[in-house]
């Protein structure tokens, strides 16, 4: 455990925690725009800056990337910090005056409008990079990336063409704080051509990356639930059975083990793709398979391998 001070309050933090994490664990709020618990810290929005006093040095650092250390004194609202944050908000107001997340921050910091001496844009993207990082780090699709640099920087699909590697999972739209990533699920669609309109099934489109994929329909309830490409990627990733993604999550049946029939032979455990089964060994003949439901994907692979039909 590390001992440090934040705003004069003595707090404890675990080894390896960032200053931001340490502050939040102790109920001290630091505003952020580009931080997400599922992603590696990036340090780009500069909203989370704090003043850190370590030994004789006092520096301004981004709390999301700076590791907490023994004996440091942190100030989250010193005048320099507030001035820096105000500049960030003001600059964002000039860039994206119509984004609610930015407007909220501006209200919090008492900024009515950006300076009159600046030009104004009407962008929506604040370039926090959450979408890019979610796509690369969590989804692993690497479909979108930053393009350009400096003032011309944008988030884009490769060469501004349709993003080939996009699986339309929608993670980018989910994490986007501004709502500018347009993901639409269409119940029915039609492609029009001079020969007439061709009716097609339900589709998902993400306008920003110029992709449009058909949605898979659950074989049980008949509702569309996820893009085919996304499910293909997942089934490869988890090495699941082909029929696994025929059902939507709500229709998926989790396995039940009949303990009277189970011999404890272990073949289900050997073949489980996600390791959701384990042997409950109480000695002698009292051996049974048991399932951990939080891990189970309901792929029913074990059902095929069970020699006595104990799994249903």
């Amino acid at each position: 455990m590390l001992k440090l001070k934040i705003n004069g309050k003595n707090i404890k933090a675990k080894e390896g925690m960032s200053v931001l994490e340490a502050a939040r664990a102790n109920g001290i709020d630091i505003p952020t725009l580009c931080s997400n618990d599922a992603l590696k810290p990036y340090g780009a929005c500069r909203m989370c800056i704090v003043e850190i006093e370590q030994g004789s040095r006092t520096t301004i650092e981004a709390s999301c990337t700076y590791p907490a250390a023994e004996g440091m004194a942190v100030k989250t609202d010193s005048p320099r910090v507030i001035a820096g944050r105000k500049l960030v908000v003001e600059l964002l107001m000039a860039r994206c005056p119509n984004v609610k997340a930015v407007q909220d921050l501006a209200r919090e910091y008492g900024i009515a409008d950006s300076s009159v001496d600046w030009g104004k844009d009407n962008e929506y993207c604040i370039l926090c990079g959450l979408c890019v990082r979610a796509c690369n780090e969590v989804v692993g699709a690497n479909a979108i990336q930053f393009a350009g640099r400096g003032a011309g920087k944008v988030v884009d699909s490769p060469f501004h063409q349709s993003a080939e590697d996009c699986v339309a999972c929608g993670s980018c739209a989910y994490v986007c704080p501004t709502g500018i990533i347009k993901k639409n699920d269409l119940a029915a669609s039609a492609t029009c051509s001079p020969e007439g309109a061709k009716q097609e099934g339900p589709k998902r489109e993400i306008l920003n990356w110029q992709v449009e994929y058909a949605l898979k329909i659950c074989t049980k309830c008949g509702n569309p639930f996820a893009p085919v490409q996304h499910l293909d990627k997942l089934s490869k990733q988890f090495n699941a059975l082909p029929q696994f993604f025929n059902l939507c999550p709500s229709c998926r049946e989790y396995i039940v083990i009949d303990r009277d029939k189970c011999l404890g032979c272990g073949s289900c455990m050997e073949n489980c793709p996600v390791g959701a089964l384990e042997l409950d060994d109480k000695g002698g003949y009292d051996k049974h398979a048991q399932v951990f439901e939080q891990n189970c994907m309901a792929c029913h692979t074990c059902q095929i391998y069970c020699p006595v039909g104990a799994i249903s």
Partner: protein, 664 residues
């Protein structure tokens, strides 16, 4: 159509034209194009020239430019072969496997530097080449051939006197070396003739050099006997006595302009790789670090972090693999000192990197170079190949068991790559954006392994320190800044040049002694040190010393050693605008305050520079500058407002003159 006659080359060129037409339209377009071509030819046989002229003159845009590109007409024609220097690739003989081999090659190198016949050198770094060194060298080669003189015409680097380029030195056994300046191709025959006869072309002679230093230890190669010079010689100034060299302290750049950068023997001849032999032979890695720490050598890239402490941290860091990276990005707009240095003496850097590798336990190094420095990249590449060939790079160097490989990596020349973490990202093939620190590169650098990133000047200094000891180096300079610094003088100066001076030299003296004051002859109004991130300081600060801390206190920085001089007519506000625009172009765009802040700053500064400034704008620039220095990710953003802020501080009159005049 039957009466069209083709010449084979005409047919060939026309086929290229047809291939450039989109496939779907080819069949339809072909007869039409032939018809147009026939009209152009007017009955003559169609040759390549006619097809090219037709594409160039008759076609409308954009077809014209597409076809011009297809035929290769958009590129400038290759230079006439006559002007090109006949440059046979230098073949290195022998290998260096131990200290005895090194001594043998040293003798061979000295033989090349002071031969029994005649050696004529042409300084051909970028500054020389720009002023026609290549044609001068070709003319010299021609003259040598025609006059049947036994002479070795060598392309060497620059000795810093950029204003006197192209320079030619003549070294004849038993005579002092004569340096000619501003040589033209027409004068070449005369120089060769005079050299062969042991005479001097007095109009062009700049100076004479009686001896050159072999290394920092004091050994010398003497060109001439000590007797009193002949009458003609006495008129030529002694090089060691003219101010330009007398006031310099050459440690890093001691070989520049003397040795041929593409001959490893000549570098070894002047004491090259002796420091490596010493370190590998009699010092432990910890001893090398101790010497560097004792020398108090600070990073020459800008931040001034002590190199020894960096090396020690890296040597102590846990890791199975370590790297040495040389930062040769130099993205500053107005200076090219590292470029000139590398073009003149690339082996000095290689030796420094080998020493760094030995000290921290690394076995791989990268030289990250600005790709705009085409010649420097080429010469470093050649130097590495030669060092590999003789065995000074690779496995088991000098029989010590120490192995080191070196690669050149070309970067796009982004200013932000001066930031070491951005450089590492670029080296890994990612965006040139800075990484958060900690972790520091010495703990997690290139590919997540401990890495030392040093400026190329820092690395090049190390060999002298190892050879002569850290104490000697720490004896030069000021208490806070030790050693020497290469400074490039540019802007409004009479003689643009680059020089190496001891730390603590007064900046005003550097400008008057080496650059000869301003080109316009007017008083110096302002100067800027350290590239775009440095402040613009007024003439009253000319008494400042070249020192990390003194310049830092004055609101500027030593940086990589640029010194930009502005005279009284200079509009400093406009200079600030230029520099803010530079930052706008060079911001990587990662963090909000820099990306957006520099954009807005540029709007305001442009407005002021155009004469439409207001008091509110000045106040805004001030608050923005303060907030940006707190909030930005890296030093680029933190210092982006420095030019305009220092102009506002030191030149209030100029700024007031740019205020909007309103009629009340």
């Amino acid at each position: 159509m039957a009466d069209i006659k083709w010449l084979p080359d005409g047919q060939e060129t026309f086929d290229k034209v047809i291939a450039a037409v989109p496939e779907g339209m080819r069949a339809a377009m072909k007869p039409k194009l032939i018809e147009m071509l026939a009209a152009k030819a007017g009955g003559k046989k169609i040759s390549r020239k006619i097809v090219e002229a037709w594409v160039k003159e008759d076609l409308p845009e954009p077809q014209r430019s597409v076809l011009m590109a297809a035929l290769g007409l958009d590129r400038p024609a290759a230079k006439a072969d006559a002007a090109a220097v006949k440059k046979a690739a230098w073949k290195v003989k022998g290998a260096v496997k131990n200290a005895a081999d090194l001594a043998k090659m040293k003798a061979a190198g000295q033989e090349l530097l002071a031969p029994k016949t005649l050696r004529i050198t042409v300084s051909s770094a970028s500054c020389g080449l720009a002023k026609g060194a290549e044609t001068v060298a070709a003319a010299l080669q021609d003259a040598v051939k025609k006059q049947k003189v036994n002479a070795d015409v060598v392309l060497v680097g620059s000795n810093g006197m950029s204003w006197a380029e192209p320079m030619v030195s003549v070294i004849k056994a038993g005579k002092p070396c004569i340096v000619y300046g501003n040589v033209t191709a027409d004068a070449a025959a005369g120089i060769v003739k005079a050299a062969a006869a042991g005479k001097i072309v007095e109009d062009l002679a700049l100076m004479r050099v009686d001896s050159i230093k072999v290394d920092v230890t004091g050994e010398k190669i003497k060109y001439a006997a000590d007797k009193a010079p002949a009458a003609a010689l006495a008129k030529v100034k002694d090089g060691s006595k003219i101010d330009f060299f007398k006031k310099q302290l050459k440690i890093v750049s001691r070989n520049a302009g003397i040795i041929a950068p593409d001959r490893i023997e000549e570098y070894i001849g002047l004491g090259g790789y002796q420091a490596l032999a010493k370190a590998l032979g009699s010092m432990k890695p910890a001893d090398v670090i101790k010497e560097v720490k004792e020398s108090k050598l600070r990073g020459r890239g800008g931040a001034g972090f002590p190199a020894g402490i960096k090396w020690e941290a890296c040597s102590k860091a846990a890791g199975d693999k370590k790297y040495i990276v040389c930062n040769g990005s130099e993205g500053d707009p107005e200076i090219g000192l590292h470029k000139s240095f590398l073009e003149s003496d690339p082996h000095m850097l290689i030796e420094g990197m080998l020493l760094a590798g030995y000290a921290v336990g690394a076995d791989e190094g990268y030289v990250y170079l600005n790709d705009r420095y085409v010649l420097a990249v080429e010469r470093v590449q050649t130097a590495i190949e030669q060092a590999e060939k003789v065995g000074l790079l690779g496995k088991n160097i000098l029989g010590s068991g120490f192995s080191f490989t070196l690669k050149v990596k070309r970067g796009g020349g982004a200013y932000v790559c001066g930031e070491e973490t951005a450089l590492l990202n670029a080296l890994e093939g990612s965006f040139a954006e800075p990484r958060p620190r900690p972790p520091l590169p010495v703990h997690q650098g290139l590919n997540g392994k401990p890495t030392v990133v040093n400026n190329l000047e820092t690395l090049s200094t190390v060999s002298a320190i190892v050879l002569k000891g850290g104490k000697w180096f720490a004896g030069i300079g000021t208490p806070a800044s030790k050693g020497t610094k290469i400074v490039a003088l540019s802007g409004n100066v009479a003689r643009p040049c680059w020089v190496e001076v001891a730390m603590g030299t007064v900046i005003g003296d550097i400008i008057t002694a080496f650059a000869g004051g301003t080109a316009s002859g007017k008083k110096v109004k302002a100067f800027q040190t350290g590239g775009p991130s440095g402040g613009i300081l007024p003439a009253s600060q000319l008494k400042l010393k070249l020192d990390y801390d003194a310049l830092g206190k004055a609101g500027s920085l030593l940086g990589s050693g640029g010194l930009l001089v502005m005279d009284e007519d200079c509009d400093v506000v406009d200079v600030a605008r230029f520099l803010t625009e530079f930052f706008l172009e060079e911001s990587c765009g990662k963090c909000t305050p820099c990306r957006e802040g520099v954009k807005r700053l540029n709007e305001i500064v442009s407005c002021i520079a155009d004469g439409r400034g207001t008091k509110a704008q000045l106040a805004l620039v001030k608050t923005m500058g303060e907030a940006m220095s707190a909030a930005c990710f890296c030093a680029l953003g933190k210092t982006a407002a420095a030019p305009i802020l220092t102009v506002m501080k030191h030149f209030p009159k100029d700024v007031n003159g740019k205020m909007l005049k309103t009629i009340n």
